[in-house]
Amino acid sequence: MTGAEMIVQILADQGVSVIFGYSGGAILPTYDAVFRYNAENTGTDGDEPMPLIVPANEQGAGFMAAGYARASGDVGVVMVTSGPGATNTVTPVRDCMADSTPIIVICGQVPTAAIGTDAFQEAPVNSCLGPVAKHTFLVTDPEKLESTVRTAFEIARTGRPGPVVIDLPKDVQNWTGTFTGKGLLPVPGYRKRLHAARENHLDDRKCASFFGMLEASSRPLIYAGGGVINGNATEELRQLADHFGIPVTTTLMGIGAVDTTLPLSLHMLGMHGLASANYAVEDCDFLIAVGARFDDRVAGVPEKFAPNARHIAQFDIDPSEIGKVKSVDWSHVGVLKVDLQAIYEYGLRHRVSPSYSDWHDEIRELKKKYALNYDRESELIQPYAVIEAINSITGGDAIISTGVGQHQMWAAQYFDYKHARLWLTSGSMGTMGFGLPAAIGAQFAARDHLVIDVDGDASIRMNLGELETATTYGLPVKVLVLNNYGDGMVRQWQKLFYEGRMAASDKSLRSKDFVKTAEADGFQYAVRLDDRKQLDRTVREWLAFTGPAFLEVVIDPDAGVYPMVGPGLSYDQMITGDHIPSRIKTTEEEIDGSSMF
């Protein structure tokens, strides 16, 4: 068996059902092996077991794999060639690292003997991708190929998940040896630490001290992050919150950890969190962080975050996150799914039944009084209205991917999310161009699910080439471009912090015709909407279209994202805009965010 054939066999053994990637000289042997594998194993229905999905650019492949991984919870696989193929994956690999998404990038490399000679299409993959990946392997000993590929999957999916890169010289792919079908590399330190976290069960003493804090509190709040989604701990979190009546707010990455439509669900907190969620954080006296890392978009001023919390508890799989930003009174490093179940069972066993009815009333009041709102009378189409129109049809069950910027925040705020893995967004890295390829990847993970890319006119330009990928593979993704002719979020900051000087953020003089673009890439449905009276009808028609469908909506270019906690400010200084009430009036002039990020 050749090295290339071994790789394909291991991918099959790992349950890989789709590969996203772009071919080229140094990866040709493995592409050929995939082709032969598919030809030999095509089902009676004509479906290939491991189709190769070819993007316009390798960055697209990376985000397709990320979208696949986020929507399915399985490892996404990228296969690219050496040099530019590999370096084009740097952004998605860093994005996956920052949002803890498990993907494997297999990249061809020049033959072992040519490494370091500035050979054609050679790039130092370890040096480029090493600092941004969870791990990188360079396979120089073909005898270790099998164990390396299997270990890469193990590392990607275990502990805090992340991207793993396998740099694969061409001669290793062409090498012939005996396939054993088993074996892993010794990674003793990693496995020992993983084992320690898995075996670190909550004992009764620790549970008792947790419930001591819970029972002493009258306004407890769960602050759930992406770790709940990545750790598949949604059911356990919901069970705990429901049973003890603890309201839940989630981070951007944690959206879907609880059903956002429920009375005790506060939806998103943070810089653009809902005012009700942020005020609940201000008011809570016991904050329970679950798989959340107090990042700067949530806790811009750590010492002023949850200022009335007498206790803070933190659950995480990653010991480095405990107390990294804000010190906590109680912490536990372990597997969320197991630990949340253990806490719940302890409380059940000890008949803990706190009553938080006053707090629940307060939450209800906060949600009512500080609900999201906007100018509903405007003649211009409001982006929020577009999302509400879509949401009234999808009802919190569609998979939503986004680019980065205002549209991303509107999609986070105004859609309902009933389940985990419906919300795919580049949270930590904030990569514009994520939305379209992520939607394509997600559609492969959930073939019959409605997948919508909610994008901005600037974000979608970043990976616009992938429009053609959607039609090439006949994917019924629905693409929405909220066109405000520029970088809306940048403009919002320029208005607030740079006296309205719109440096390089205006695209109103550009000649792009999005509908023609979509049509040229094979979209049978491509419509531009600029009449608000046609909104509901057009959205219905667009979503009902069988196959890929593209909708551009020209929105109010001055629509802003509110609420907003300015950079470096605390939640009590939150701006809520003209349509959402605020507890305290802070004038925008008081903020100098020019040094903030």
Binding site: G130, F137, L138, I155, P188, G189, Y190, S320, K324
Partner: protein, 166 residues
């Protein structure tokens, strides 16, 4: 505070680069870094000297433990340990009559590895602080042409070892 952190690392492609990159990407400072094989040919030992508050050192340790190749780490400064660093130094033969280089060498416990009509090449193994002091004393006495240091190394006192075994 100054900390000496010892790291047992699997001998894999890019492993050393990952440790170094971690320090640069997270903005931690490295005063010195020493790396060589251990009794186990699969494992290298890095000794890294860094400065930082307890919180920073804790984060450094936690972040190092996230690197797949890292087998074990220890903050040597937390326990009783022996520190040593190797210095090679080349100095011009003193012309100043007040300078008694042989006495300096002897009192510090240094050795002359090479002497030529114009220069002495000396070796001294001691703590990093003692090396600093010796370099100052020598440069007060004569012109220093070159300083080569290994970076500090540390080993626990007594029977304790930082072993890769489990």
């Amino acid at each position: 505070m100054r900390h000496i952190i010892s790291i047992l690392l699997q001998n894999e492609a890019g492993a050393l680069g990952r440790v170094a990159a971690l320090f640069s990407t997270r903005g931690y400072n490295i005063e010195s870094l020493n790396v060589a094989a251990t009794e186990d040919s699969e494992i290298s030992r890095l000794t890294l000297v860094t400065k930082g508050s307890d919180g920073v050192i804790h984060q450094i340790s936690q972040q190092l433990l996230k690197l797949v190749d890292v087998v074990k780490i220890a903050d040597m400064t937390l326990d009783d340990h022996i520190e040593a660093e190797l210095l090679l130094i080349k100095v011009v033969v003193p012309t100043n009559a007040e300078c008694n280089l042989p006495e300096l060498i002897e009192s510090a416990g240094a050795r002359v590895l090479d002497d030529s009509p114009e220069t002495f090449t000396l070796e001294l193994t001691a703590s990093s602080q003692e090396l600093d002091d010796f370099i100052i004393a020598v440069s007060d006495c004569s012109e220093v042409l070159s300083v080569v240091r290994s970076g500090a190394m540390a080993i626990a006192r007594g029977h304790n070892v930082l072993g890769a075994g489990f």
